[in-house]
């Protein structure tokens, strides 16, 4: 275990020149990191503020409670009432979003370029000057509990919960446990999480899009840049799910007309830097109304309306899984044929032509994603918070092009032939 601050390695402290935009990094003395990229694909600008930490640091008694910090940020600051905050958010087109993942908290927004100064000021106020009042905490807790209970009425959420319970039991709590945890939370608990993680040296802010670089750097320098670095560096740990065998098949009740099916495997030993391999492979399995899975299950057999592959790369070992829904009479066939399609990858591995199509699909999706300045800002912030190199669009295109057939084959041999776990919500 090593002590870690979100200090950007030297090799990242350069401007990334691209045909599309230039990204510049601005590290501040207090440890805060700003990334700015100007581009004109969009008429808008995006903001992504990530705070390292997230749900992976929750103990079992805290599971489900770290989200409350974000909820409380919107419930009053030293200079803004709850009503003032909601008014400000609405004036930005209700495009300010907060969420928590396993490895960070996020506050993200899209705005018109002329509003960027105001947006930066608002976000800074929320992050640095929230009051965390008891009466507001009571409301936030009630809403959090209500949201968990509502999700119990949703077959989709039942599926998500099932997947987490089976693949990441060390990081999972049942809805009932989470409700109990939330009801126990007190103001001091929320403040202690806030003080531990929400420090300048633990944050990255990425601004992207049609913005004035000098103006936003000035605005951030005058706000985040002046904050004092009071917190201790967060100890960075690689969180791992402890080894344990996975079931071949498990079922839960839920849903009415259909069954949700998750067929997945753990990617033991897989490194996130190779994520593009799976992205390309997933495009080969399912792309725009095509791909091996789509053709076998929908076009040839009419067994599903939607079937798609996904991967999760937050907690190790990572997972690779297929999500499908089907009427209950088709469950066994969908599982059997999906597994066969995955095994066929080993028997009939893709050739250069199939790989080229998949790469084209991934590359076009990437280009389309650059229409959204927020998607771009998020990419940059996420790479920085994980201390990974920020690539320009051209470099990202090249990385897609550089995915080699033999690497795909090695990956398939290693993981596609695995014994896959099938989870059914019926």
């Amino acid at each position: 275990m090593k002590k870690w601050r979100v200090i950007i390695p030297l090799f990242l402290l350069i401007s990334v020149e691209t045909a599309w935009a230039q990204t510049s990094l601005h590290p501040f003395n207090n440890g805060f990191t700003l990334s700015v990229s100007h581009s004109e694909e969009s008429g808008l600008a995006g903001l992504s503020l990530l705070i390292y930490g997230g749900a992976q640091f929750e103990t079992s008694e805290q599971r489900g409670t770290y989200r409350l910090v974000l909820d409380m940020l919107l419930r009053g600051t030293q200079s803004r009432t709850v009503d003032d905050i909601s008014l400000s958010i609405s004036q930005f087109g209700d495009a300010i979003d907060t969420y928590i993942t396993s490895d960070y908290w996020a506050l993200e927004a899209t705005a018109s370029p002329e509003d960027m100064d105001l947006l930066i000021e608002l976000v800074h106020d929320l992050i640095r000057h929230s009051l965390f009042l008891d009466k507001e905490l009571d409301k936030a807790k009630k809403i959090a509990v209500q949201t968990i209970r509502t999700n119990q009425d949703s077959p989709l959420h039942m599926g998500i919960d099932f997947y987490r319970a089976v693949f990441y039991p060390d990081f999972h709590a049942s809805p009932e446990q989470m409700v109990d945890n939330i009801e126990m939370v007190e103001r001091e608990d929320v403040l202690s999480v806030y003080k531990r993680f929400f420090n300048p040296n633990n944050m990255v802010l990425a601004l992207s899009g049609n913005l004035n670089r000098d103006e936003v750097v000035r605005a951030v320098t005058a706000s985040f840049g002046k904050d004092t670095d009071e917190g201790l560096p967060v100890v960075r740990e690689i969180k791992r799910q402890q080894p344990g065998s996975l079931p071949a098949l498990e079922e839960r009740q839920g849903g009415i007309t259909q069954a949700g099916i998750i067929i997945g495997t753990r990617l033991e030993g897989f490194d996130r830097k190779d994520a593009l391999l799976i992205e390309v492979l997933n495009a080969l399995l399912d792309n725009s109304l095509g791909g091996r899975l789509f053709e076998e299950l929908r076009e040839k057999r009419s067994l599903v309306y939607s079937i798609s592959p996904y991967f999760s790369m937050r907690i190790q070992p990572y997972t690779w899984f297929i999500l499908a829904t089907t009427r209950k009479r088709n469950i066994n066939r969908v599982i059997r044929i999906t597994k066969r399609v995955m095994h066929d990858l080993v028997e009939t591995p893709p050739g250069e032509e199939e790989l080229r199509l998949a790469k084209n699909y991934v590359a076009t999706r990437l280009a389309a994603s650059y229409q959204s300045p927020l998607r771009r800002a998020h990419y940059e912030a996420e790479r920085l918070i994980r201390a990974e190199q920020v690539l320009s669009l051209d470099q990202r295109f090249k990385a897609i092009e550089n995915v080699k057939l033999e690497d795909i084959h090695t990956f398939i041999d290693h993981y596609a032939a695995a014994d896959w776990t099938a989870l059914i919500v019926r």
Binding site: D94, R149, D153, G255, I256, T257, E299, Y361
Partner: protein, 470 residues
């Protein structure tokens, strides 16, 4: 067909499409003189030049040039959808849309789009069925050529209908998998028993199963005519040359008339429904019929939506989330069509809070109807709406939908700035009029779904197993 033959076949088709696209580009020079005879409308917009033209044959074409965009977007929209259907053939527009994509001898005519890495899809709504793609700009011509072929010359067979019927039944089942959705579809049929609006575009298991091959071919021949189509291109394209290419592709010698339609406005026969279902939280729906997209009240209704329930500073959000902390699960939706629409807010709440939430909601509605809100509140709502418009109308795809709707429902080529000006003209009295005209107590509809527990729950499960209803 072996994999290798398939690949060879793909290559051949791709080459043919490329040649065809090249041909359709080269024809342009010869067509230039002819093109100049048309009355094109050139409009400068916030993002770039826009050209609109109505071609001989009746197809409407709009091209929006957004030089900075990394992609190009193309769509062909047909004026047909759920409101064009009877109870017997409910779902036929959507089933037809699925069938258009059926592959021919194992090869899709959309392969040229896929091979470039582009995305293609379609959407069927109440009054529009739309086919669209996003590609890198250099692939626009051949992609539009492929999509046009797909829409103008469907090749599906009776066997394809059987296969795709099953896919649509899966889609229907997916939509009903949540008990709240299943019950809602049942209740809407009770509220609007004779309206095509109650089949939610997709139809019912019975109607989907009853549609035969002849029905669907006749339906296609009736509605998929040039005069009933709108084509929109947006993105990093040259507006002038793209318009010329599209004219070549869509121009017809004779003007055909589009099938005439008159949509009836549904009348609710019930206003209040209470149902116990197998859920944990109560689910509350409050709604009313609204003005349509072609109404003079459209913009006032947009502002009304923001003031009342949409967004974190709406009256409902402030009362229910900020002040009381009852729930964050508040989902207002406005489904607007040409001459009518349905506005509804869906709330998931603790059963113990249901009555309070219901009272708050009525209080806030009453305040809007009686003008109990300030000018500054109205101004803030309009600013919030304008901010949303700016955020939501940035990408080529979003702008293409915006202009398609303007052409379809308002017969206008209004720009985003003109849209914003129309929002700015909304006054307090407009909001009050919306409240009085559309949201009077006898016009609002409420649905309460409450958790069934114990024996009740068991009974409902048994009922579903035997009747497929709850």
């Amino acid at each position: 067909m072996s994999r290798y033959i398939k690949i060879t076949y793909r290559i051949i088709i791709t080459v043919v499409c490329m040649l065809a696209a090249a041909h359709f580009s080269s024809e342009l020079t010869a067509d230039d003189e002819k093109a100049s005879l048309h009355e094109e409308k050139l409009i400068e917009t916030e993002r770039g030049a826009m050209i609109y033209d109505e071609l001989p044959g009746g197809t409407r074409v709009l091209v929006l040039e957004i030089p900075s965009s990394p992609v190009a977007f193309g769509m062909i929209a047909v004026n047909v959808g759920g409101r064009y259907e009877s109870e017997q053939n409910a779902g036929i527009s959507h089933l037809l849309e699925h069938l258009m994509f059926r592959e021919v001898d194992g090869y899709s005519r959309l392969a040229p789009i896929r091979e470039t890495g582009g995305s293609v899809n379609a959407l069927t709504d109440m009054e529009l069925t739309t086919y669209y793609f996003t590609v890198l700009p250099q692939h626009f011509d051949r992609s539009m050529y492929s999509l046009t072929n797909l829409v103008n010359d469907p090749l599906f067979t009776a066997e394809d209908l059987e296969a795709e019927r099953e896919v649509v039944l899966e889609e229907l089942a997916q939509g009903m998998n949540d008990p709240r959705a299943l019950v809602l579809t049942q209740l809407v049929k009770e509220i609007f028993p004779d309206s095509p609006m109650n089949s939610f575009v997709i139809g019912t298991e019975e109607s989907i199963n009853a549609i035969n091959y002849d029905d669907i071919r006749t339906f296609y021949d009736t509605y998929y005519s040039p005069a009933n189509m709108t084509v929109v291109a947006a993105g990093s394209l040259d507006a002038q040359s793209t318009m010329k290419k599209l004219r070549t592709l869509f121009e017809r010698e004779t003007l055909q008339t589009a099938p005439s339609t008159q949509f009836e406005i549904p009348e609710p026969v019930l206003n209040t429904l209470i149902k116990k279902i197998p859920i944990k939280q109560s689910f509350y729906i409050y709604g009313f019929l609204t003005p349509g997209k072609n109404s003079d009240d459209f913009f006032a209704m947009e502002v009304f939506d923001i003031l009342f329930a949409s967004g974190v500073h709406s009256r409902l959000h402030r009362r229910i989330v900020s002040e009381k902390g009852y729930t964050e699960q508040i989902y207002p939706n406005w489904y607007a069509y040409s001459n009518t629409g349905i506005w509804a807010v869906f709330l998931s709440v603790d059963p113990d809070d249901m009555d309070d939430v219901s009272s708050l909601l009525r209080e806030e509605m009453h305040a809007l109807k009686t003008g109990k809100f300030s000018q500054s509140e109205l101004a803030a709502a309009k600013r919030a709406l304008v901010a949303r418009v700016k955020l939501n109308l940035d990408k080529p795809e979003d702008l293409a939908w915006f202009h398609l709707e303007n052409l379809t429902y308002r017969n206008t080529t209004m720009t985003v700035n003109e849209y914003i000006q129309a929002i700015d003209r909304v006054r307090v009295e407009d909001i009050m009029r919306i409240g009085r005209m559309y949201c009077s107590d006898d016009r609002t509809i409420t649905i309460e779904m409450k958790p069934a527990r114990g024996v009740e729950r068991l009974f409902l499960i048994l009922k579903y197993l035997t009747t497929k209803t709850i």
